[in-house]
Subunit: 146 residues, 2 copies
DNA sequence: ATAAATTAAGATAAAAAAGTCTTTTATTGT
DNA sequence: ACAATAAAAGACTTTTTTATCTTAATTTAT
């Protein structure tokens, strides 16, 4: 098991890909996205529909349609995507599964786990959706599974 | 979704509980453990059977039987439990779901995610199974879900 | 207007994770 | 030896996650 659900992994990869295409002035179709990030096409379609309904990405139907991201939305933190897909448990849940993480009734891992959560929160907050376009363009970083 | 599977959460809570009972010189039955850590009894039984087969905890059948942890095993890092239950993906997997985390073909989150993974590894390595007996005894920390 | 393209929505399906119940096996105390 | 106790093992069910397919609704270009 990873830190994020598969759904969320696909969502993050797709959003980065859409962002970098948007910068180059294009809308991208579901087929292209799925192939470029190595994800099951129909499943990804569902995920993007959901993000679209929630206003995190945009889409247009018809010829030359596809997905893109509004200028303003490119500055959103990646945390917004994670929250939309996986909820906020990762940001404030207890590492050992207690119903509530609490300072007064902590689990054995509480003290150390807090650092982990803070690190995750930090990572997802400082990272913006539109941040990696350059590196994605020149192949310095990768979104393909293998 | 949390960082660990529910199975793993139950396993960790149970192992801490068994450890603290072992220190007080007792074996504990599945029923007591399940009730003390708020987990489904039969499901936990499966988990402990597995840990027992793998030698991470010990058990004896029959009257006055139950689960306990060998002296030496009390010093194992919690990481051993996590690995036994959830595998090692959490220690070296890619945060965005790429098949292999790699320095030469990194995902966008690689640099930051490495810190998260290291923090998790650190937490699970420095924490030993038998470490919290005092705090568990005096109720300073909790294993009960609610 | 019509046809083509493309996302949205709805309905299933398959796989994995979580949870439950029943039967068997081993151990202990009498 | 026997009965009682408790874990081990096996079979099964339910729920959640992941994945696929089909039909509908929009948009664009001709
Ligand atoms: S109580 Fe478990 S992480 Fe805070
Ligand atoms: S490549 Fe994704 S975390 Fe290293």
């Amino acid at each position: 098991m990873g830190v994020f659900s598969k759904t969320c992994e696909y969502a993050m990869r797709a959003v980065f890909y859409i962002a970098s295409s948007t910068i180059s002035g294009n809308r991208v179709g579901i087929k292209e996205i799925a192939s470029k990030i190595d994800s099951p096409e129909y499943f990804l379609a569902k995920i993007l529909q959901d993000l679209s309904r929630k206003g995190l990405i945009s889409s247009v139907k018809g010829p030359n349609g596809g997905f893109y991201i509004e200028g303003e939305a490119l500055n959103r933190p990646l945390a917004d995507i994670v929250t939309a897909v996986d909820g906020d448990e990762i940001f404030n849940g207890c590492g050992m599964g207690l119903a509530h993480c609490s300072e007064t009734n902590p689990c054995p891992l509480h003290h150390e786990f807090k650092k982990v959560r803070n690190q995750i929160t930090h990572m997802l907050t400082i990272t913006t959706i539109g941040q990696f376009n350059k590196e994605l363009g020149n192949g310095l970083i990768s979104l393909k599974k293998s």
